[in-house]
């Protein structure tokens, strides 16, 4: 990017700036809540947490909420009286996207924008478009904030990420002290800055120098790495290896790793039928999709009672295979961004980084080679 396109905005102006955008945008930013940082709608009462590391729940929930009404339906009166139930879809789901505003996602971490770009390949692929995700996604301007201080669990550089990754964002910000350095990435980002030019000044040489220094330090602060080159090829032949026999042992089978993961996208679809008390008929209901997790046994339970992934072993294998083998197969991308949420929040400290390292160095001893 040419130098002249870099801008600065005063840190002290940022909240005012965001407030002014509320007319046009649904503004999301990291906000302190219950002792953690979460992406929430803009609040002028809370300072922007410039020192925040990352949110506990990934911002995927903005475009892909934990539960979402796909449509609702009502029973037809005429059918009800004859004892049968015929449902007609209603025009608008009640909790549809608010007021048709555009979305502004402000201050998201670069790893999480990378996750957006991965989810885009799934929900917005050539073969199939998920309207519910894409409608929100296409309305969003994503402004990321480069990481000055990666966490001990961050391992983005072992994947495709960097503390200043640009993929998935329209604009990237750099915290350089008093000021914020602003760099547009996409056309949408450039237009956004142009249309609001009164808030910005041109960046000076010193600002850029400072940013570069901070980024060099930031790279150095990423302490953990997992060398997973060619992991897809490794996994191609790994479905039956004995590696899986023990790696899952510690797993409790909860959904923390998948629910907090910014790239896990599996969901369940159910109908919630409204029942009138004391009556066997129903007046209508909703079709809802909500997060689901491959770590739950119910995830693959068949109606017959058979479960193709009956134990923790098959479920753990699925989680790793899906991210590091099936997704590279289908989307040419590993669906892990190294944010470390699963590492940090696992109740038994079952560390994905360690699992990957063990996997990469694992060599199957064939039966006939055993001494």
């Amino acid at each position: 990017m040419e130098k002249e396109k870099l801008k600065i905005i005063k840190k002290n102006d940022v909240l005012k700036f965001l407030d002014s955008l509320q007319k046009e945008y649904e503004v999301f930013m990291p906000v302190e809540r219950n002792g953690d940082i979460q992406f929430s709608k803009f609040s002028s009462e809370k300072d922007f947490p410039w020192n925040y590391r990352n949110t506990k729940i990934s911002p995927k929930e903005i475009f892909f909420p934990q539960s979402e009404t796909l449509f609702s339906f009502k029973a037809e009166e005429s059918a009800l009286s004859s004892g049968s139930m015929i449902f007609k879809p209603e025009d608008e789901p009640e909790d549809s996207i608010s007021e048709n505003k555009n979305y502004l996602i402000f201050g998201i971490r670069p790893c999480d924008t990378l996750a957006f770009s991965l989810l885009d390949k799934l929900f917005g692929g050539d073969d199939f478009q998920d309207t519910y995700y894409m409608e929100k996604r296409s309305k969003a301007t994503v402004i990321s904030l480069a990481c000055n201080k990666p966490q001990v669990t961050c391992f983005c550089t072992s994947l495709k990420g960097r503390p200043d990754n640009e993929e998935g964002a329209d604009i990237i910000l750099f915290d350089i002290g008093e000021n914020i350095l602003v760099r547009p990435i996409t056309k949408k980002g450039e237009k956004f800055i142009e249309s609001l030019s009164s808030w910005f000044e041109d960046a000076k040489e010193a600002d850029i120098k400072k940013k570069n220094e901070i980024m060099v330090q930031s790279f150095q602060k990423i302490r953990s790495t997992a060398d997973i080159q060619n992991i897809k090829e490794k996994l191609d032949k790994a479905f039956d290896i004995s590696f899986w026999n023990e790696i899952h042992q510690k797993c409790l089978g909860c959904g923390i790793c998948t629910y907090l993961c910014p790239t896990c996208y599996c969901f369940n679809i159910t109908d919630e039928i409204e029942r009138t008390a004391g009556s066997s008929t129903s007046s209508g209901g909703k079709r809802i999709r909500c997060w689901d997790s491959c770590m739950f046994s119910l995830f693959t339970m068949h109606a017959s009672g058979h479960n193709p992934r009956p134990s923790y072993k098959e479920r753990m294998r699925q989680r790793i295979m899906h991210k590091f083998n099936y997704c590279p197969e289908n989307f040419k991308e590993i669906f892990c961004i190294g944010c470390g949420r699963c590492v940090r929040n696992c109740p038994v400290n079952l560390d994905l980084r360690e699992m990957l390292i063990l996997l990469m160095s694992f060599e199957e001893i064939k039966e006939d080679e055993k001494v």
Binding site: E32, N34, G35, D36, I37, P49, N51, Y52, R53, N54, K56, I57, Q66, S67, K149, Q151, V152, T153, K221, R223, E246, Q249, K250, L252, G253, C254, G255, I256, Y259, L260, N268, T270, E272, I288, C290, S293, F296, L298, Y312, V343, R344, N345, P347, V348, N349, L350, D351, R353, E354
Partner: protein, 330 residues
């Protein structure tokens, strides 16, 4: 103590008394350990014992003894397990509920003067995530932390003990095959119940509001359930589809139904190990509700879970003078 543990486990393997041993190994993060499964005496060096051994290991036992209808004459594994007072009482509960056979479990009881709360330690260093702890070293009663800016802080272990450990009345296991460590002094009883008495004094509306607030944080990852040794149901009510008791969304009413259902299923069974609280990624104060049940069961039926293999649990027995005011006048 760790040498004693290793020695005992080694002996068990060498004398062919166990097939698997479950203990604690070194964690990958500061202030953490990881549950460690060992199948031969060669791996004994992986074992550790420190103030971060807070996971309740009893949770892993039932999965070794699931009914396997297709397989006949399956030889059940013999499992050695390191059990603190809390793990031990969970094991007792599982034996009583016929989830694990006593004869297949070799309990190495270990006296414990409490485990730390990682969140408390983090907050001591710095609120929120502003500074990260990169290493921790434990030395007789204190923990030396180093943060990413190379600053060092020495914390007293007693200042960062988990709430459950501060109140623990069973620092010494009661039922075991071998005991390691010297008897540890019990905590004071008054201190134990202060928080719940304060909560009980609040009006009903306020308590309900608190429950709603806490439930609203839930993301339904089921970590509380999965971390709980008592939650071994083959099919949880929350996931049953026929009949469907509860919706699958993160709607507050679904969440509250799940939480109420899970917590109430703990009546007369919960032993206050704190596994659910520790596992919860969203910091829900689950203990205030589980502890209320413990207290009520104790007051109404004179029963405490996990301390005897013989005494009938309150939900499995009936007396004509059983208290029932809690039903008629809640």
């Amino acid at each position: 103590m760790i040498e004693k543990i290793k020695e005992t486990v080694k002996k068990l393997f060498n004398e062919d008394k166990i097939d698997i041993f479950i203990g604690y190994g070194t964690g990958t993060l500061p202030l953490r350990t990881v549950p460690c499964f060992i199948t031969s005496s060669g791996d004994i060096e992986k074992l550790v014992w420190n103030s971060y051994c807070f996971n309740n290991l009893a949770v892993y036992l039932p999965r070794f003894f699931l009914p396997q209808p297709q397989k006949k004459d399956v030889k059940l594994p013999r499992i050695g397990i390191l059990a603190k007072g809390c793990d031990d009482r969970s094991i007792v509960g599982l034996i009583k509920e016929n989830q694990i056979p006593r004869e297949n479990i070799y309990i190495i009881g270990i006296s414990c003067n409490g485990m730390i709360d990682v969140g408390k330690a983090q907050n001591y260093v710095c609120k929120m995530q502003e500074v990260e702890i990169i290493s921790a070293e434990e030395k007789s009663g204190s923990i030396l932390l180093e943060d990413e800016d190379k600053r060092k802080v020495e914390l007293k272990k007693e200042d960062i003990l988990a709430d459950v450990c501060e109140c623990c009345q069973y620092t010494n296991p009661l039922i075991y095959d071998v005991l390691i460590g010297e008897e540890v002094k019990k905590n004071k009883n008054e201190q134990q119940e202060a928080f719940i008495k304060e909560f009980e004094k609040k009006p009903l509306e306020e308590r309900w509001k608190y429950f709603q607030e806490q439930a609203s944080k839930c993301i339904r990852c089921y970590a509380c359930r999965q971390a709980c040794p008592n939650c071994y149901c083959k099919e949880c009510f929350a996931e049953q589809t026929k009949p469907k008791w509860i919706g699958v969304t993160d709607n507050i009413s679904d969440i509250m139904f799940f939480q109420i259902g899970r917590i109430f299923h703990q009546a007369g069974r919960c032993i206050d190990c704190g596994a659910c609280v520790r596992a919860c990624p969203m910091g829900i104060d689950l203990r205030i509700f589980t502890y209320k049940l413990i207290k009520d069961v104790k007051e109404f039926f004179g029963y405490e879970a996990g301390i005897s293999l013989e005494e009938a649990p309150p939900l499995a027995t009936f007396k004509s003078d059983d208290k029932q005011e809690f039903i008629t006048e809640p």
